[in-house]
């Protein structure tokens, strides 16, 4: 891949505008109409509470305290108490129900993504790594949650508050109102300028942190290597540079933010000063419409006015992050699985296991054809062993059989029916697999064994484990079949994992079996157990084996040597050894020493 192509892949072009993303995110909460209207009402109540408060206090000062009216003051104060109470209820309702809305959105979004991921074809997983998909589900939904929750409601509340304060100000005195908002344009320009600068600075600091963590992860996972080559000093020096770069980038970014807040503070104080100066001037020299109480009220408006303005400027950053995240999430949700059931697909119950590849052409990408006009006939009960170098296409046959990929040309049939005419579920139920990496879930052993047959009884589970030579070691574990496996290495050995995978396949009892032999080494005694387990597993089934062990290959009905886009050699052990080709060379290499 050239450098240019690589860059293009890293930065996929956005096909949606921010507005598209936002609308689609909104569509997730619009079916929560009932909840949203409660939130809306609650928000109005909260805004009323905060906006009316200063007005009432101003009124109390002006109309009652100055003219010594105790009864009037009491009435206003009762009113103020009522206002506060309404605000309180509104605040409470707003938080609770908005949280509910956003949590529901997140739940639905997560569920949708997960359900969609289940439908996607293998090609998609091949193209996007685990890390990429994980990050979409975890980080991106997180970023969306931040926006579509309190941030959204706070911003909405800010807008409400802003409008309420504006109304309150303008109905009381237009001149003073205009003086109060004079600094707004300066604030907007400053915010805009700062956001450009700080975005660049934060991007730099994020990248520095990204590099630091990536290098750190790698360094930490190769400590033993570094020690064994005695190069720790170089590694440490390299880390020190990353670390210093991260520190400096952070300090630079902080410098910009540190300047922004005080500037805003000075500007909003300027507004207060203007209100006090101009208001005071009008109160002294004016026609009496501007009273002391009014000036006092405006002083508190000025303060209330600038809080929402600042909140709104924060919103921009969150929105950018959430929209970028939304875009990635919707990319995923819009990815069509390329392998789906055909309209007239039929169900197959128990296959005989007659598999026929005829003139099959296939490549994972269009440029590179792996199988070119390949044909292979497999009778029920036969065992086929695939041999060849890494990357030659050994696993391709089995990938096609389970319709993890579709062939480009030719035909592939099971019991004479094109696999594409079968439902995916019924087709895959015919096929069981023992994966090369011995993948198991972090669950109990019993649940892992039941993975292919959920309703199996305990005795069926144990019978399968026995056939897979796994029962004995399972019983030696502290919790037996209820032992919880932890991901990665640890509790049980690699060989034992392999035995469990075999037991899992035996319990699922498929007609066709795919065995991708593990390459990692297990000691001879466990290996003998594995061999015996495999023999039990293969009994009475059509089997495809991606083979690494000569012992397995030798007993195959057909050995298929793959290379150069097709089948190089085909036949049983004796035939191939006699033919004296690649296979014969392989056998020679392993026995000569």
């Amino acid at each position: 891949m050239s450098q240019k192509e690589e860059n293009q892949q890293k930065k996929p072009k956005r096909t949606r505008t921010d507005w598209d993303v936002f609308r689609r995110l909104l569509s997730y909460i619009t079916n929560e109409r009932a909840l949203l209207s409660i939130v809306f009402v609650a928000l109005l109540m909260q805004t009323a509470g905060t906006a009316l408060g200063p007005a009432l206090i101003g009124q109390a000062v002006d109309q009652f305290i100055i003219v010594d009216d105790r009864a009037g003051l009491a009435r206003t104060m009762m009113l103020l108490g009522g206002t506060y109470l309404i605000g309180y209820l509104g605040f409470m309702g707003q938080i609770f129900f908005m949280n509910m809305v956003s949590q529901r959105l997140l739940k639905k979004l997560r569920g949708d993504i997960f359900a969609h991921v289940q439908k996607l074809s293998m090609g998609y997983f091949f193209k996007h790594g685990t890390g990429d998909l994980m990050s979409r589900l975890v980080n991106d939904t997180g970023a969306i949650g931040t926006l579509m929750g309190q941030q959204l409601i706070q911003s909405l509340g800010s807008v409400f508050g802003l409008v309420a304060v504006l109304i309150a100000m303008f109905t009381q005195n237009v001149q003073l109102s205009i003086v109060t908002i004079l600094v707004i344009p300066i604030m907007v320009i400053l915010t805009w300028q700062f956001s450009i600068r700080s975005r660049a600075a934060y991007k730099e600091s994020r990248e520095a942190l990204g590099k630091l963590s990536a290098d750190l992860e790698e360094d930490l996972s190769t400590i033993k290597e570094a020690q064994s080559f005695a190069v720790t000093e170089e590694v440490i020096n390299h880390f020190r540079r990353d670390n210093a770069h991260n520190r400096d980038a952070n300090i630079r970014a902080a410098g910009i933010t540190a300047a922004f807040a005080p500037l805003m503070d000075v500007l909003s104080t300027l507004a207060t000063v203007l209100v006090a100066g101009y208001g005071g001037y009008l109160a002294i020299f004016g026609d009496g419409t501007v009273t002391v109480g009014l000036v006092v009220a405006f002083l508190s408006y000025a303060q209330q006015f600038f809080r929402p303005v600042q909140l709104l400027s924060n919103l921009y950053t969150t929105m950018q992050a959430a929209f970028a995240a939304g875009d990635r999430v919707f990319d995923l949700l819009d990815a069509e699985p390329d392998i789906v059931d055909r309209a007239q697909a039929q169900t197959i119950n128990t296959a005989d296991g007659y598999v026929q590849f005829k003139d099959v052409v296939f490549g994972y990408t269009e440029e590179k054809i792996i199988l070119n006009n390949v044909s292979l006939d497999v009778q029920p009960g036969q065992m086929i062993a695939f041999v060849g170098e890494t990357g030659s296409g050994k696993s391709t046959f089995v990938n096609l059989l389970g319709r993890f990929y579709d062939i480009n040309a030719g035909s592939l049939t099971l019991d004479g029916i094109d696999v594409r005419d079968l439902t995916l579920t019924s087709l895959r139920q015919q096929i069981g697999e023992v994966p090369q990496n011995s993948f198991l879930f972090s669950d109990t052993i019993a649940n892992n064994l039941r993975y292919g047959r959920r309703d199996a009884t305990q005795s069926e589970v144990e019978a399968a484990a026995q056939a897979a030579m796994a029962h004995d070691f399972i019983m030696e574990l502290p919790d037996g079949y209820e032992t919880v496996l932890t991901s990665g290495a640890g509790s049980i050995s690699q060989g034992q994992r392999q035995l469990l995978c075999i037991a899992r396949a035996i319990l699922a009892d498929p007609r066709i079996l795919i065995l991708d032999e593990a390459t990692s080494n297990i000691d001879t005694r466990t290996e003998r157990l594995v061999q015996q387990a495999i023999d039990n597993l293969l009994k009475n089934r059509t089997a495809f084996v991606i083979a690494h062990r000569l012992s397995t290959i030798r007993h195959a009905s057909q050995i298929v040597v793959i290379g150069d886009g097709g089948i190089l050699e085909q036949g049983n052990h004796e035939q191939l050894v006699t033919a004296g080709g690649y296979y014969a060379g392989l056998i020679k290499a392993q026995t000569l020493d």
Partner: protein, 578 residues
């Protein structure tokens, strides 16, 4: 608290910034406290008395305060960031150096993820405390006490009436923060479990699909998703009742001030401006309480993180470099002798090696064979001092390995491991890992010996092909060959093959064996193997069982004398014979 005290030591190199930030913070707090006084003057001496000069004086004062506050809140933020980033920088370096020098026994019990968390999140938690927490704490306390004092001085009756709400607010906060901590923890745990399901689902997509378990997986995920949702709603119930209540209480404070204070103004016991100022100071009480609530969390997490960090920094390094260690050079013969060596892993109850003795002569190969867990890898790990023996000693050319300079020892003992972790970067960089200054010719030569050259040349950019994270994109066999090339490049005196050809196909393994022959003839080597075919030609084979050497000799001798060896040979013949 001892943790925080120790944390302070990290502040000392940056004390000028820290003190600057502290003074700035004091000035900011002071101006904040002075502002309501100015507003009071504005109202009482300016507007009410219709005194234009009073208004000008007060507004001018307000603007001046804002400017002062602006400058110092900038220096406060900037300097505290500077000092805290410095602390984080030093802490990270110190941790990293510690990780790099801690012995294998430490790394056996600590996962990379854990170490990552220490170096990133934990350092960040400590930094946050020193960047904001500490100063905010002091500022909050000063503001709180200052406001109360001013309130009491302005009018003690009004103050006492208002301050009744404060204990209630504090009590609510206390309740909230003690309740929410565990609830948040639960949310985090549920989220972790949810992500775990997801991670496994994606990693095991092949298994999921081939067992048609998609509906089951979706149900499992949905189930956990629902649990997370419920827990989140539970948390928001506390939020929704707690914070509004606090605001209501503070509003009630305002109500009391205006009502009761209004009456005091009416009966001329209080100035109107004083009343307004009083109200402002009241709002100053709330912020510190909020801050303190948040800080108690921050302090707790900084303390917990600090504890974890210092625990690592205090971990003793078992394998240390001797002072004035002897330099092991390439010109020595390289005879390796094990003398009655016993070894047990830290914290284990049984020895993994008991009384191991053997001699590996220069130019000779010693092969170790035995079941998993019989102690083969433990033996070879003792030579480059990844671990030290519990009893007995290992010598190279007559000197105890513990007397050699550690770096020179490890440079001369090359290990080819079975599980190979490559680093991202080019193949060339990976091969040059142990010898960054190697020439390209040397790299190619090493790759040729390791039978890696051919497949490297087939890569899109040859030696400059980038390998992904942990060598993804290369097969196990290719990674193993790169690992061997890496060791060949360093050209060590003694070389160890720890089952390092397990993923190679038979043909390549044979080619490798032939290519290595000249090297092995001149160097000492210890080889661990599973396959009899690999060790058949070796003169000294040690058969290990449960950490003991139960038989030794060459292939023919062992066939005759060792039932276990015979057993292994027989089983492999059954499996692999052809």
């Amino acid at each position: 608290m001892a943790v925080i005290k120790r944390g302070f030591q990290y502040l000392t190199p940056y004390w000028t910034f820290a003190v600057g930030a502290f003074i700035s913070m004091l000035l900011v707090t002071a101006t904040n406290l002075y502002v309501p006084q100015l507003i009071q003057q504005l109202i009482d001496e300016g507007i009410e008395l219709e005194n234009w000069n009073g208004i000008l004086f007060a507004t001018g004062g307000l603007l001046l305060m804002a400017l002062i506050r602006g400058v110092f809140s900038f220096t406060n933020t900037y300097w505290s960031e500077k000092s805290s980033q410095g602390i984080a920088f030093d802490l990270r370096n110190e941790l990293f150096i510690k990780f790099e020098t801690l012995s294998f026994s430490f790394h056996d019990t600590h996962q990379t993820g854990q170490l990552m968390t220490r170096t990133t999140s934990d350092v960040e938690a400590v930094r946050n405390f020193f960047a904001q927490g500490l100063l905010q704490l002091i500022s909050a306390i000063i503001t709180f006490i200052g406001s109360i004092a001013i309130l009491l001085l302005t009018d003690w009756r009004l103050a006492l009436a208002v301050l009744t709400t404060v204990p209630v607010i504090i009590a609510i906060f206390f309740f909230l923060f003690t309740r929410m901590g565990p609830l948040f923890g639960k949310v985090q745990k549920l989220l972790g479990q949810l992500n775990n399901i997801l991670q496994e689902n994606i990693a095991g997509v092949r298994v999921v699909k081939s067992f048609t378990a998609e509906p089951f997986e979706a149900a499992r995920y949905q189930n956990q998703n629902e649990r997370l949702y419920k827990q989140n709603i539970e948390v928001s119930r506390y939020f929704a009742t707690g914070f509004p209540t606090v605001f209501l209480l503070s509003n009630i404070g305002t109500l009391i001030v205006i009502w009761y204070g209004g009456n005091l103004v009416i009966s001329d016991q209080l100035q109107l401006g004083e009343l307004i100022a009083f109200n402002s100071y009241l709002s100053y009480l709330l912020t510190p309480i909020f801050t303190l609530g948040g800080l108690s969390q921050q302090l707790a997490s900084a303390t917990a993180s600090g504890n974890r960090l210092f625990e690592i920094l205090d971990t003793e390094i078992e394998i240390t470099n001797p002072t004035n260690g002897i330099k092991l050079t390439h010109h020595q013969p390289g005879q390796v002798v094990f003398e009655n060596v016993s070894f047990r892993y830290q914290g284990a109850e049984e020895d993994v090696l008991t009384n191991i003795s053997f001699t590996a002569e220069p130019g000779d190969t010693v092969a170790l064979i035995g079941a998993t867990g019989s102690g083969k890898s433990s033996i070879v790990n003792l030579v480059p001092r990844f671990y030290d023996p519990t009893a007995g000693r290992i010598t190279i050319d007559g000197h105890d390995v513990r007397d050699y300079d550690l770096d020179s020892l490890r440079q001369q003992v090359g290990s080819c491991l079975q599980e190979v972790t490559l680093r991202s970067g080019s193949i060339r960089d990976n091969i040059a890992f142990g010898k960054p200054d190697a020439t390209f010719e040397q790299i190619v030569e090493a790759a040729k010996t390791a039978q890696a050259h051919d497949f490297i040349m087939k890569q899109p950019n040859g030696y400059d092909t980038e390998v992904g994270e942990r060598g993804s994109g290369l097969s196990g066999g290719q990674r193993q060959r790169i690992a061997i090339a890496r060791v060949m490049l360093v050209h060590p005196r003694i070389v160890i093959f720890d089952d390092s050809t397990s993923a190679l196909d038979a043909e390549t393994e044979l080619k490798l064996k032939i290519a290595l022959r000249p090297f092995l003839k001149k160097h000492t080597s210890i080889i661990i193997a599973q396959r009899i075919s690999t060790v058949r030609t070796v003169q000294q084979i040690l058969v290990l069982d449960k950490g003991r050497v139960i038989a030794r000799g060459n292939h023919e001798e062992l066939l005759a004398t060792s039932p276990l060896y015979y057993d292994i040979v027989k089983s492999q013949l059954e499996n692999d014979e052809a």
